[in-house]
Each structure stands twice: as structure tokens, then as C-alpha cells.
């Protein structure tokens, strides 16, 4: 994507309708498949609707669902769980991912092979990830308990049945799956750095630490922030792994906001109230996305301004 090509567009002779024929099908699908549901979530949040009842007969609630949400300690509890989960996973994933990228940035033989291995966890279906780790963390037959006992003499723990341990377990699982994502992005960013700058700093006598913290990391700052925000959005989007691993329990120790909405809607069947919480989720995700977009939008080329 060079600046030169961005400023030029091929001109067709008097074809003002053409662009719209090109974009309309995609817009219709997005409108119907994404924006209509978001609109429906807003709409449903004003009703008291449950599965098996006619939606047309659902009683109108006004803003009751929202009032209830603001006063509902459970909503704040799961929001807090989500934020804590986000804090721990993102902090550890960023630290580990960046550290590994810096350590392994030097091009070596077989690098692409290892990179292939590293992205495998990212490709595994969330349902399967949840199943694998539920098995590993199982209190009775799980391998983690077995090895902790065999090597460290640690008593078998009920990983998924204790609030703190279960929280640890889902954080651990997330780190396993998503650290490679940070690693791949950062290493791509590092390798895209102009080598002259790095070389210049070496000639200037900068040691490794100075080079990393004063030259390299500042130069990929925007990449780091975008990666961080993308992970943050994933934290608010994700639910499948926890749904399979713990279902949100024990208590609400591992119930992220998305999972709470799902459980509200399909466990306790309060579809209207679940929609009200959906609105909260939409607002949060919207805010983070806007932050990403103001930092970098590859589709907003400079010539548009």
C-alpha cells in the first residue's frame, strides 16, 4: 500500500451507479445480519419476553429492564469478573508475547516452522479448547492434578470448583490460546522496522536494553496498543470456552459479561432483560472499537480527508 497508488483512482466514464451496485449486496447482508440484530436487542430490552411465548404478546416494560440492570449486583459482579479477566490475561499475554518476540526476533533457520506451530492454538475451535482444558483441569482424572501430585506432592485441587482456582484456570487457558497472537503481531511489527534505525542505534553504542526500550518498543507502540485493544474486545466477546469449561461457575467466578447474557437468556429465560445487558455490552465494545479506529483505520486513506 504505497502512498502513490492511494491518491489515484481509475475513472470510468459516467458510471455513478456502479459503485452502489458493488457495495449494495454486502451492505444488505450486514444490515440484516448484524445491524438488525443490534436494533432488535435494543427493541427487546424494553419488553419482558421468554422462550415459548408469543413476542407480540410480551408485556412492554419501559425502562424497567435498565433500571433493574443498574441495580443488579450480579451484573456489576460479572462486569468486574470480565475486567479482572481482561486485566490478567492481557497483561500476561502482552508481557509474554512481547518478550518472546524480542527474544526470537532474529531470523533463524526453521523460524517459519515454529511460527506455524505457535498459531495452532489459535486455530482450534473454542468448543474444543474448552473441552481439552476442562479435561486437563478435572479434579478426578485431570492431568494437571496428576503431575502436580507426582512432581511437587501437591494435593489434588478442585480446579474448576473453587472460585479462585477456576478463575486462574480460565486465565491460564486464555493465555495458552492467545499469547501466540500477540507474539505473531509483535514479531511482524519488529521485522517491519527499518533496519537503518536499529543499526544506527547500535553504532551509537546503545546496549540491548536501551535498544529495546528506547528504540524498538516506542517504534511499534501503535501496533502494541492495537493488539491490546483487539484483545480487550475479544475479552468482551468471548464466552464459548467458559461455557464449556465451567458454565460460569462456581458461583459467578468465571462468568464473563457475554456468558452472563447467554445464561440470562437461555438458562433463566429472561430474554428481555438479557437484551438490556446486551445493550450495555454493545456500548462497551463500541467505545473500545472507536478507540481502535481513531488510532488506525487502514481503510481511511489520507487522500479522503
Amino acid at each position: 500500500m504505497t502512498v502513490l497508488t492511494q491518491s489515484r483512482k481509475p475513472r470510468f466514464a459516467a458510471e455513478t451507479m456502479t459503485p452502489y451496485t458493488f457495495i449494495t449486496p454486502a451492505i444488505l447482508v450486514i444490515l440484516g445480519g448484524l445491524l438488525y440484530p443490534v436494533f432488535m436487542a435494543f427493541y427487546l430490552s424494553f419488553y419482558d419476553w421468554e422462550i415459548g411465548r408469543d413476542l407480540a404478546k410480551a408485556p412492554f416494560m419501559g425502562v424497567d429492564n435498565f433500571v433493574r440492570m443498574v441495580q443488579d449486583p450480579q451484573v456489576w459482579e460479572v462486569l468486574w469478573v470480565t475486567l479482572r479477566f481482561g486485566f490478567w490475561t492481557i497483561t500476561i499475554e502482552m508481557t509474554l508475547g512481547v518478550a518472546l518476540a524480542l527474544l526470537l526476533e532474529k531470523p533463524i533457520r526453521g523460524a517459519s516452522f515454529f511460527r506455524t506451530i505457535f498459531i495452532l492454538p489459535l486455530m482450534v475451535s473454542p468448543v474444543v479448547v474448552g473441552l481439552i482444558w476442562r479435561y486437563l483441569f478435572d479434579a478426578r482424572i485431570g492431568w494437571i492434578n496428576y503431575y502436580l501430585g507426582a512432581f511437587f506432592g501437591i494435593e489434588p485441587q478442585v480446579w474448576l470448583g473453587d472460585a479462585d482456582l477456576a478463575f486462574f484456570a480460565i486465565v491460564f487457558t486464555d493465555i495458552w490460546q492467545w499469547t501466540p497472537f500477540i507474539f505473531i503481531i509483535v514479531i511482524a511489527g519488529l521485522q517491519a522496522l527499518p533496519s537503518e534505525v536499529v543499526e544506527a542505534s547500535t553504532i551509537d553504542g546503545a546496549n540491548w536494553y536501551q535498544q529495546v526500550f528506547l528504540v524498538k518498543l516506542p517504534m511499534i507502540k501503535s501496533i502494541l496498543v492495537i493488539a491490546l485493544l483487539m484483545r480487550l474486545i475479544d475479552v468482551f466477546r468471548g464466552l464459548e470456552v467458559m461455557l464449556i469449561m465451567t458454565g460460569g461457575g462456581p458461583g459467578r467466578a468465571t462468568e464473563l459479561l457475554s456468558l452472563h447474557i447467554y445464561n440470562r437468556a437461555f438458562d433463566t429465560q429472561q430474554l428481555g432483560y438479557a437484551s438490556a445487558i446486551s445493550v450495555l455490552l454493545i456500548l462497551i465494545v463500541f467505545a473500545i472499537s472507536t478507540a481502535i479506529l481513531t488510532m488506525a483505520n487502514p481503510m481511511k486513506s489520507k487522500s479522503d480527508v
Binding site: P156, G161, G249, T268
Partner: protein, 439 residues
């Protein structure tokens, strides 16, 4: 015009022929029909697959089974049943959903079929089906909406119904010189003794949500507690209810590792794998313990009545099956239900390793299976008010009790305040749903 008339006459003729033939064989009319059955992926129902195959062979009615995890079952069934024309001809529900299904108008009253002589098998003998099962699973609209009563009507027949009995390891009890507990005091004592001997005592469900609530309810009824008084005031912070929670905490402390993650399957597996000395839950455990694929303890299990607290009270649960209001093949579905729960069908279920619903079957097989005598004796204690089968129960069960009881077994906090808080929440829900408008 004439063409249409002719066609009509022809089909009437064909109809007359079919009805005439139907006298020879009640199933013939439906030969080649395919009915779709929605039921849970539980042991009893897996065993029933063989009987379903026999049904198809005998009647020519094809059956397609859609077996789901029972927590997924309700969403799926509700969705199907609320469409104009559904896919399911037979649905099997957990007794606690029956009120919801009926109040939403999703089920066909069975009276619709019992008025048809060509469908009802005169030898069926409905009275032989254990009354506790029939009332709890099949009858809706009696006292409080879910208990027996004159305003009730029959919507389903029990299939895979159950009550709770105590299963224990004869070898362990003998080795430790323990007496099988008959009361709750004795039970708690035995739990403590086993724990001191280093043997995990009583396995139990304990997973957040309805699983842990079910575990607590098992102790609540015999200890004399209830969820609501007669005015729909929640009483889950009563001394009895708190004591039941205390028992549950002791169970978690003295039982096998992992109770807070156990659903029914995990709790049963702990017992069947020989990692717990007792199992106090559904009678289904008996058939499971005889299945070599599931159990390492076949032949070592003894059965006793559910221990008594201030009264005898065992669970009323399990499944009943009925016919959706929007089922495409209702009559064939009725014939299927009748076949599966007939005397012969019930006996076949026992032979296949399932659980019977008929008193006669329990009596006829009492010599073969140790638990049948216990079950027959336990059934009169099965408490129809074991849990309130009202639509709001779902939220109370999962959101209120399911959360509070998790706190009970995973922390050391005093129990009374936890249950007080839960009671307040329960009250708020009932208030919101308009239960106090009559006061």
C-alpha cells in the same frame, strides 16, 4: 367439479378401508409414519433405544430419536413447540418444566386420546403406574398448579421417572463396622466416621446452578423444610433450610474431591468408580451400577430408604413424556407412549437395564433386583411438593439458590446470612411476578 367430488369419494372409500383394517391391528393405519422423539441423553433413555427398535418392528411406525443433554433439551423443545408446526411428536420433560409447558399452551391433553377407542389399549391399566410418578410428571393444574388435585389434567405419562434412595457400599460399611443410616443424625455421623477413616463418604452434585440446588433439596424435604409456605412466602432461611445447607456443607467436606464441579454424571461416576461410599440421589444409580461400562462396583452395592429427618421425604423427579400441541403425528405418538409404558414395555425396560414406572413391574422383579423392594417402600414418601414446579422456579433454582448454595459449600461463611439474603432475593422475584396480589 365432478373430478374433485370423485376424488373425495375415492379418498373416503380409502379411509373407510383403512379404518376397517385398523380393527385388525391398531397400528396398521400408521404404518410408515415417522415420529420424532425428543428426550435426554440419559442412561435410561439410551437403554430404551432397543425397545424403540422393537416398537418399529412390531408396528411399522418409524421413530427418530433426538437425544440431547437435558439442559439443552428445554430450549430446543420450547423453540420447536412454539412454532406453527413443530418437528417433535413426543417430548420428554423434567417434571419441573411441566407447569411452564402447559401454561404456555404447548402440550396436548391426553384426554383427547383417551376418548378414542381405536387408540386406547384396554389392557393398559393406568392405575398400575406408580401414583407419585403419574401425579408429578404427568398431571398439571392441581393444587398449587403442580400438586395432585381436582383441577388437574393429564398431559403426560411417566417414563424415566424416579425417586431418591440411599445406595451404599456394602463392603466398605462391613469393613468399617458401620450401620446403614436410617436417620439424618446417623447419616451425618457415618459421614464423619468415614471421613476420619480416610474414605470419601457421600458423593453429591454441587455444580453451580440447578445441580447444587437439587443436592440441597434432597436434604430439605426429610429435614422438614420447604421452599414456600402456603401463601407463597419463601422460607429458604428457615431453621430446617439452614440445617439442610449445613448438611450439604458437611457432605462437601467429607465427600469425594470435586463436589463443587459435580453434575449428576460426575457425582454418579465418583460412586461408580469406587471413590465414594454412599450415593443419595435418584434410584437410577442402581441400574447404572450394574452396567460394566459405567461401574467398577457391581455386586458391592446395597440399598436403603432415604434417611429420615423430622419426616420421610424423597425426591420426585425424573421425566415424563407427552405430545406437543403442534405435533404432526399425534395419534402415532400416543401409540408410541402407550407401547413404551405398557406392562410389557415396562418389563422390557427392566430387562434392558432401565427403570420401571409400574408397581406390578417392581413387584414382579423384586427378587432379581435388590433396590426394587426399597423403591416400592420409598415411593409413598415421595414428596409431591419436593420443589415448587412453577415457572419462576427456574430463576429461583439457578440464580438464587444455585448461587447461594455454592457460597455455602465453597466458603466457611456462616450459613444463616447467606440464606437470609437468598430469601430476600426470592421474595423480590415473587413480588415482581405478582404472587402477592391476593394478599
Amino acid at each position: 367439479m365432478r373430478h374433485v367430488l370423485k376424488k373425495g369419494l375415492l379418498s373416503m372409500g380409502a379411509f373407510a378401508f383403512v379404518t376397517a383394517a385398523a380393527f385388525a391391528n391398531p397400528y396398521e393405519k400408521f404404518e410408515g409414519t415417522t415420529i420424532v422423539v425428543s428426550w435426554p441423553a440419559l442412561s435410561h433413555f439410551k437403554k430404551a433405544e432397543d425397545l424403540v427398535a422393537e416398537f418399529t418392528e412390531e408396528t411399522g411406525i418409524e421413530v427418530e430419536i433426538d437425544a440431547l443433554q437435558y439442559l439443552k433439551l428445554r430450549d430446543r423443545q420450547l423453540l420447536e413447540m412454539s412454532k406453527n408446526e413443530g418437528e417433535y411428536d413426543v417430548v420428554s420433560w423434567v417434571v419441573m418444566w411441566k407447569g411452564e409447558y402447559v401454561s404456555k399452551g404447548l402440550l396436548t391433553p391426553l384426554s383427547q386420546f383417551y376418548t378414542s377407542g381405536s387408540l386406547v389399549d384396554p389392557n393398559y391399566d393406568l392405575d398400575d403406574i406408580a401414583d407419585a410418578y403419574l401425579q408429578n410428571g404427568g398431571v398439571v393444574g392441581g393444587k398449587k398448579g403442580y400438586m395432585p388435585g381436582k383441577s388437574g389434567a393429564m398431559y403426560g405419562v411417566p417414563f424415566g421417572a424416579e425417586t431418591s434412595i440411599l445406595a451404599y457400599r456394602k463392603d466398605i460399611f462391613e469393613e468399617q463396622g458401620l450401620k446403614v443410616p436410617e436417620t439424618y443424625d446417623e447419616l451425618r455421623d457415618v459421614m464423619q466416621k468415614l471421613h476420619e477413616a480416610g474414605i470419601p463418604a457421600l458423593t453429591s452434585r454441587g455444580k453451580t446452578g440447578h445441580q447444587i440446588t437439587a443436592a440441597w433439596l434432597l436434604h430439605l424435604a426429610p429435614l422438614g423444610g420447604k421452599i414456600f409456605d402456603d401463601q407463597w412466602n419463601p422460607v429458604i432461611n428457615s431453621p430446617e433450610a439452614v440445617e439442610a445447607a449445613q448438611v450439604l456443607r458437611e457432605v462437601a467436606q467429607t465427600g469425594p474431591k470435586g463436589i463443587p464441579t459435580f453434575g449428576f454424571g460426575e457425582a454418579a461416576a465418583a460412586f461408580l468408580q469406587g471413590e465414594a461410599a454412599m450415593h443419595l440421589d435418584t434410584l437410577k444409580i442402581a441400574a447404572m451400577s450394574r452396567d460394566p461400562k459405567l461401574s467398577k462396583i457391581d455386586g458391592k452395592v446395597g440399598y436403603a430408604l432415604h434417611p429420615v429427618g423430622s419426616r420421610c421425604g424423597s425426591e420426585t423427579g425424573g421425566f415424563a413424556a407427552g405430545i406437543p400441541a403442534n405435533a404432526p403425528n399425534k395419534e402415532a405418538a400416543f401409540l408410541f407412549l402407550q407401547y413404551m409404558t405398557s406392562k410389557a414395555g415396562d418389563q422390557r425396560m427392566v430387562e434392558l437395564g432401565g427403570d420401571p414406572v409400574r408397581i406390578s413391574t417392581l413387584k414382579n422383579n423384586a427378587d432379581k433386583f435388590d433396590e426394587y423392594a426399597v423403591v416400592a417402600e420409598q415411593l409413598p414418601c415421595a414428596d409431591p411438593d419436593w420443589r415448587p414446579l412453577i415457572p419462576e422456579w427456574n430463576e429461583l433454582n439457578i440464580d438464587v439458590l444455585g448461587q447461594a448454595l455454592t457460597e455455602v459449600i465453597t466458603t466457611d461463611k456462616p450459613i444463616q446470612p447467606i440464606m437470609d439474603a437468598a430469601n430476600e432475593k426470592a421474595r423480590a422475584i415473587m413480588e415482581r411476578e405478582g404472587y402477592y396480589l391476593w394478599q
